[in-house]
């Protein structure tokens, strides 16, 4: 029997679900292996039990917490899809300011339906089995994780930094352009796509498990940067403070 999979979204841009739909060349083959039973963006069907739920977005309200817990109850495996679900993603930018202030600044009033709490990653509410990192997720990496889950294997994420992929591709170092780059501590797997595009790493894939902090300190010192500079950048896509000081 085909695995029954569903896609769900909370506070986010739906760009990760779109990245799944953008797997145009693989989608027909994937649908030979799985049955998509719920995907509100493109389907009207709804279901009860799921084998795998891919959940996009951060959690900011009580009704969202309830809906997430309900999804957790209905699914065997729950996967955080993308940075918002995994680390808070870009919603983290507002997390140091407090919802009241944000609400006043954007809506200039305080009606009940505008109430939100500080954004949280899914794992703050329910048990999350696996994550697909990134803003947006990387399509081929999503397929690799899905494949592992269908084969009942443990999906692996690279546990080395973007710097490694960047050096292998021989891209010029962002620090040498006078930019602050999170490549030394951010989880690889994106093929350093932002640096290839002439930008720098903004850390959307989250930290590697054991970032090597002392060489990073040296890089920062060499370029006249402080830990605060780097944390300010880190908060663009990540809610929590890093587990160990960079």
């Amino acid at each position: 029997m085909k695995s029954r999979i569903g896609f769900f979204d909370f506070t986010g841009c739906e760009g990760c679900q779109l990245t799944v739909l953008n797997l145009e060349q693989e989608l027909l083959e994937v649908l030979e292996l799985v049955e998509i039973v719920e995907f509100r963006e493109v389907m009207s069907e709804r279901t009860e039990q799921l084998d795998i739920a891919f959940v996009e977005g951060s959690i900011c309200r009580q009704q969202d917490r309830d809906r997430l817990k309900n999804i957790r109850q209905r699914t065997e495996i729950l996967v955080a899809l993308g940075a918002c679900a995994d680390n808070g993603g870009v919603n983290a930018l507002g997390s140091d300011r407090g919802p009241e202030l944000l609400r006043q600044q954007v809506y200039a009033c305080d009606m009940p339906h505008l109430q939100t709490d500080p954004p949280q990653a899914l794992s703050a509410i329910v048990a999350v089995d696996y994550s697909v990192p990134g803003c947006p997720i990387d399509g081929p990496e999503f397929l690799a994780i899905l494949q592992a889950l269908l084969l009942k294997r443990q999906p692996d994420l690279p546990n080395f930094s973007v710097c490694v992929e960047c050096k292998l591709a021989e891209y010029p170092c962002s620090f040498d352009h006078g930019e602050i780059c999170l490549g030394p501590v951010t989880r690889a797997g994106c093929r350093a796509i932002c640096i290839d595009g002439g930008d720098r790493c903004r850390g959307c894939r989250g930290l590697i498990d054991n970032p090597r902090t002392s060489p990073y300190h040296r890089i920062l010192e060499d370029h006249g940067l402080s830990v605060d500079d780097i944390l300010d950048q880190y908060r663009t896509f990540n809610i929590a403070e890093p587990k160990s000081e960079p």
Binding site: L27, L102, P136, D199, T236
Partner: protein
């Protein structure tokens, strides 16, 4: 009796439709936008100008290119930077790719099921596999444009203040041109499919608003116009449109002095019909649509006409880029100093404004983004209220189907529209 449609499917984001009818009379009809508020404009405060476009791209996965470009143009206006003509042409090509992928997703994945009476396109995997494969092929080609020019389809990485930080490979552009030409038979089959659909009969005149882009079908410009005589600099958009809050929506609604108005493919087509490419005009007549239509369901047809138009425009743009060269990447060194600027682009769903003020250190002081869907919400509600009395005799299932189709015709993007208005400095 009360009809409640919760979490309407096959749209971007979360909305409920609530209709209260008692003894044949409509007491209430409202579109509740229940997407969680996102506060982007407040989150941008204090950010350096070089961070602003990559952050606001995340407002929307489907139209990240439009948000990026509106943002870059607003910042360039504020800092008095002018991208070179090559960069402007590449930006046009990138926008064509985005609008095509968004339109094709809406047409095939969100709208086709309504017209074939099925809950989703995946139902056709066995019975009409060729239709699904064609939808994916066409979407693939559109996304290839965004990949080649922007680095990837969602959240571009090559776009920067002053132009591009990395340029596409000429070989990739040639290949892209071949793919676009090769997509013509698939497009023809798509036109045939939609020409066979039975579109609901409904008309309601409203005000149609889009950019005014002399010599072009509207895309990027510093002026906008309306069917009711507006012709203004985008810098003055606040004088013409007002955003307001309702008790049932986390997205703001917008109105002009004359009431609700429409932005998007139908507004563009109505205001700029003569600027469509010859092939697009031919397709428009095959679909029985012209500048006179006032049927909001025809937004679907307008979307398909635009896809044809942008395929042609993309081929011409690639030819021009290959003939005259791609230019150079934008200079890395960033200027300092502050200022204010407004950027406007035609996003897939219509007119999008970004407006920023920076302080002398280049840090953002105020931001205001006016989203196409927010501008359309009041118009959608008015359409719903107008059409409802004619549908009240239908069985409930058919009634809700017609209303959902009307909402989907606008292709509302609610993740986009739940955060608005300017920051009042506290």
């Amino acid at each position: 009796m009360k009809i409640e449609l919760n979490h309407i499917t096959r749209i971007e984001g979360h909305a409920h439709l609530v209709i209260d009818r008692t003894q044949g009379e409509i007491k209430d009809c409202r579109l509740e936008i229940v997407e969680s508020p996102r506060f982007f404009e407040a989150m941008l405060k204090g950010r350096h100008f070089s961070d602003v476009a990559p952050i606001v791209a995340r407002v929307c996965g489907v139209c990240s290119v439009s948000h990026t470009l509106a943002s870059l143009i607003a910042t360039e206006q504020a800092l008095e930077i002018e991208p070179n003509p090559r960069a402007k042409l590449l930006r046009r090509l990138l926008s064509y790719g985005e609008i095509m992928q968004s339109h094709l997703l809406q047409l095939y994945f969100m709208a086709v099921p309504d017209y074939l009476g099925i809950p989703s396109i995946f139902q056709l995997l066995d019975s009409r596999r060729e239709l699904v494969a064609r939808a994916l092929r066409l979407k693939r080609t559109a996304n290839r444009i965004c990949e080649v020019v922007g680095g990837r389809p969602v959240h571009p990485v090559t776009t920067t203040i002053g132009g591009f930080s990395a340029l596409p490979d000429a070989g990739d552009l040639k290949h892209l041109r071949q793919e676009l030409v090769a997509s013509l038979p698939d497009l023809e089959a798509t036109v045939e499919l939609f020409a066979g659909f039975d579109f609901p009969d409904f008309s309601r005149e409203t005000e149609y608003v889009c950019l005014s882009d002399p010599g072009h079908y509207p895309l990027h410009s510093d002026r906008f116009l309306s069917s009711h005589g507006l012709n203004e600099s985008v810098a003055n958009y606040r004088n013409e449109f007002e955003e307001y809050l309702t008790a049932h929506s986390t997205a703001k609604f917008a109105r002009s002095e004359r009431g609700s108005y429409m932005v998007g493919p139908l507004a563009r087509l109505k205001n700029s019909y003569p600027r469509l490419s010859p092939m697009a005009q031919k397709v428009a007549s095959a679909l029985k649509i012209d500048a006179e239509t006032t049927n909001p369901y025809h937004s679907l047809k307008a979307r398909l006409v635009e896809v044809i138009n942008y395929v042609e425009e993309s081929i011409h743009s690639i030819d021009e880029l290959l003939l005259h060269g791609l230019g150079s990447t934008a200079p890395k060194l960033m200027p300092s100093g502050g200022g204010s600027g407004v950027g406007a682009v035609e996003a897939p769903r219509g007119l999008l404004f970004h407006s920023y003020t920076y302080d002398e250190n280049g840090l953002l002081e105020t931001a205001d983004c006016v989203i196409p869907t927010a501008q359309n919400l009041a118009n959608i509600e008015t359409d719903l209220k107008t059409i409802l009395p004619d549908l009240l005799d239908l069985p409930e299932q058919e009634l809700t189907r017609r209303l959902e189709m009307l909402i989907r015709a606008y292709d509302p993007c609610l993740s986009c529209s739940t955060h608005l208005l300017k920051i009042d400095l506290v």
